[in-house]
Amino acid sequence: MNDISEAFVSSLGLILFLDAELLEIILLSFRITFYAVLISSILGIPLGAFLASTHFKFRNSVVSILFGMMGLPPVVVGLFVYLIFSRSGSLGWMGLLYSPTVMIIAQVILILPIVCCLTFQIIESLHTRYHEFFRSYRIAKLKSVITYIVDSRFELTTVVLAGIGRSISEVGAIIIVGGNIDHITRVMTTAIALETSKGNLDLALGLGIILLATAIVLNGFILFLRGKYLKTPGSTI
């Protein structure tokens, strides 16, 4: 109990006396999450929409594999990316190991299946309702996929939020490929892991509270923007 109350005090202290170092850690967390979710969404939403509205031979196998990949263990992904980007690995010549870039790559592997599968579920139900209509008007495949995405854009914000949630709280993969290097690859979750291993439980929990608070603010902001668009008439793209 003592530790928990101390954690609140120390997190309050951390927020009030926001120092450059903590700010750097928080900004790096945001930066990695932003790029990982952006890339995953750019790739995952169209892919999910395409899979949901197309029937081809191995579609069900592809979809099953993607759904299975939603449960990829982060540590395994971390190891996999490490082995590829290690100096002795196939992409080692790029010298990307222990950099924020490789952390983003690892997170894209983790988040892409989530974005893809959730998009699939949303658009599949649209597709069952509208595909007869689209077919009768002879609307091109590409155009119907785009229409599905544009039409379900509000539902898709939930998909993006799920991606953000996974990304910002993830530690297993990025601590392996990033190395938790001070000022270079230390983010909120890896800082929490480090403070825990030093026995600074109150500081670790304090950082955890800040992580939760920033996640809530970020989600609130996106939901707020979504609400704005929902209410404004005639704002369809």
Partner: protein, 269 residues
């Protein structure tokens, strides 16, 4: 309204993304965890930067893993504390030179009641470990191939005991880092091995305390350079500067001035 909001959002994203790092002369150290957890690198980094111009980036993963990473050429230099593993690394041709540059002491920590209720006598680490074995008291092993784990195994070996044969009722392997292991030992009222710097800097001791010391061997930290013929990306000249500094009088002074708990955490060699 919505345009303003989205502009503010885009602007804040831009600000968040535009913080970039200027690339200085920097090297990656593959290191044992204890040096990072004790805050030693945090203390050392600005001093090294000032005297050598080299910026250090530390990946702290435990001696065994550090050596493995170094064999993949993922770093520029190795700082670890397991002589046998380091000599082995030299033998494989990856290591070039090994310099011992500082030391501290090995400790065994355990529950406060160790001396009274459990009746552990003496303060020599081997003697205590033998008693633990006889009494089947709970002992936590790192089990992660780290420097501390290798030390523990060599101590059992000196006692002619084989940990693989110990029943899992009292000999528990955590397979995790030093911090997690100390925490588990505290919670279970068990014994475990650590070093002075780690122990002084660990903040969650609870009922654990120092039960004994290794009076025979020191916990020696060595810096091992890597053969540029095996790893072409090694920044040898920057590494050379670090080694020269750590072996200089100035470097030795720097090491002895790092104190934890009003005591020296490390002693220069």
């Amino acid at each position: 309204m919505k345009n303003i909001l989205s502009r503010i959002f885009l602007l804040s994203v831009f600000v968040a993304l535009s913080s970039s790092n200027v690339l200085a002369d920097n090297i990656i150290i593959q290191s044992s965890t204890s040096l990072k957890n004790s805050g030693f690198y945090r203390y050392l980094a600005p001093i090294l930067k000032q005297y050598t111009g080299v910026e250090i980036r530390v990946v702290a993963v435990g001696t065994g893993q550090a050596i493995k990473n170094m064999k993949n050429c993922d770093g520029d230099v190795l700082i670890t504390h397991s002589k046998n593993a380091e000599l082995e690394f030299l033998k494989t041709g990856y290591g070039l030179k090994r310099f011992e540059f500082m030391y501290n002491n090995w400790l065994i920590v355990g529950p406060r009641k160790a001396k009274t209720e459990i009746n552990i006598r003496g303060n020599e680490i081997r003697e205590i470990m033998e008693t633990i074995y006889d009494k089947k008291e709970k002992f936590i092993s790192r089990g992660d191939n780290s420097g501390t784990h290798m030390k523990e195994l060599s101590l059992w070996k000196e006692l002619a005991l084989v940990p693989e044969e110990f029943p899992k009722t009292w000999y528990l392997e955590t397979g995790s880092g030093q911090g997690a292991t100390l925490m588990i030992a505290k919670e279970l009222g068990a014994f475990t091995i650590t070093d002075t710097a780690t122990w002084y800097s660990f903040k969650n001791k609870g009922d654990s305390e120092i039960v004994g010391y290794d009076n025979k061997d020191l916990n020696t930290y060595a810096i091992t350079t890597v053969n540029p013929e095996k790893c072409k990306n090694i920044k040898s000249s920057a590494v050379e500067k670090i080694v020269t500094f750590l072996k200089s009088n100035n470097g030795k002074n720097t090491i002895s001035k790092f104190r934890l708990n009003n005591a020296n955490a490390f002693f220069p060699i």
